[in-house]
Point group: C2
């Protein structure tokens, strides 16, 4: 009698079918030693769409249908939905329970058993865009040293860059990401609006932005800082502010002031 | 008797040896029909370093040594240095005189002859990083329709993306680039500082930023806006501001307010 390969694999159930769930499920499905057994979504069609892309996964829309012996359960739903989903699950002491949120504490899973933690991939995901998980930095936290061993092995199999980060560190990381990602994207939206008003499009800035990001990544952002505020060019800064709406002029003024202070450029 | 190939080519002299001059010289050197004949720099070693990478260019450090019959002269020095360099040149009516600045008016070249204009590549250049000029949007302006024909042919040979832009339009473009590039880079510098204080580095954000930029380029930045301000998540925004220095908290507050206003997310 031979053992079925599936019996030797670490069995994984994924609760969720959004961007993070999709990327994790597909990456795990390609990883030797792991087997994604079930995808749960309250919308069966969503669960089926993702399960259909995987080797052996079953789609379910009721948590009661979860296999009882999963080694790892990954909860990957919106932050707001985690608590309610957790309340509907049956606690199991041998399962490693994980969520994938940068904002929620690990302890939100404590009612499910002694082995729980966080696997937080620092990336923006969507169902329609494939992301190479190996390049995504993953931040992990576990309830016990023993749970950390299982979690660390999982994370190392998924990504080349794994850091431990408790709730406090994830919070600080999140603030940094808000500046670097959310706020930068908003400045791009303002630029897009200015260009569109002029019959141009954001496209003309993309090569410049890609090169600026490459430079920032190769060296660091401070070394690559350029522009009127960095040069302390008052006349250009004043002319620019006069061309802007009051709200955008205020952003221009404050960020220029921040640059001037940092580099002592006036 | 055969004409020398060089005699059939459009002859180009480049005044300057910095990042823009280097990228333009190398791109023109690879373009059939153009011949870069001289590189000028007040530092002969700089001129020689660039000329040495080109097919037939001579390095000069005195503008008096310029060939008198150049079809095109490209002035690619820092904005501050253009006026003084222009004053030292001998006017020639048949030469097309160009500068490469986004900020200076074309008319700064008007004393040199009737044919002048601007060839402004919207990119950040440095001597040490090769940039594929074909991908760089170029903005052009010429003093006459006839000069525009010569300039348009030159620009179309260099780049896949060429737009006409007078001084006013270049100024508006520059404001957009300050938001999208200079200010975004400064936000990355702030994020870098926050991460470094936490024993991490800017590297952990780079995959997220690359993906965010790809999304903004494929769709547009507004569609991809995420984060606490976009969701109107007051408690997270307040917690974040409490973790920041007063100066950074003020940037956080103003940019969040701008996002909330734009998307009406509170």
């Amino acid at each position: 009698m031979m053992l079925n390969d599936l019996c030797l694999d670490t069995s994984v159930v994924i609760l969720g079918s959004g961007g993070v769930a999709t990327s994790l499920a597909r990456a795990l499905d390609d990883t030797v030693g792991y087997s994604v057994r079930q995808i749960f979504s309250p919308h069966l069609a969503h669960a089926e769409a993702l399960a259909g892309k995987l080797a052996v996964a079953e789609a379910i829309d009721r948590v009661e249908d979860m296999i009882p012996d999963a080694d790892i359960v990954i909860i990957s739903v919106t932050d707001d939905a985690v608590a309610q989903l957790v309340a509907s699950l049956i606690p199991r002491p041998d399962t490693l329970w994980l969520h994938t949120s940068g904002s929620l504490p690990a302890s939100i899973l404590a009612t499910l058993g002694p082995r729980y933690g966080v696997l937080y991939p620092l990336q923006t995901f969507s169902r329609s865009r494939e992301v190479r998980m190996a390049r995504v930095p993953i931040f992990i936290e576990a309830s016990t040293d023993e749970a950390m061993v299982t979690l660390r092995r999982l994370a190392d199999n998924l990504s080349d860059t794994v850091h431990e980060a408790d709730s406090e560190r994830r919070r600080r990381l999140h603030v940094a990401a808000v500046f670097a990602c959310n706020f930068a994207n908003h400045l791009w939206a303002i630029a897009d609006e200015l260009l569109t008003a002029d019959g141009l499009s954001f496209d003309v800035l993309v090569p410049l932005l890609k090169e600026t990001l490459e430079k920032a990544a190769d060296d660091n952002p401070s070394d690559g800082q350029t522009g009127p505020a960095r040069r302390g060019d008052r006349s250009v800064m004043e002319a620019h502010q006069a061309m802007l709406s009051p709200a955008n002029a205020e952003i221009y003024r404050l960020l220029s002031q921040s640059i001037i202070s940092r580099y002592d450029s006036l």
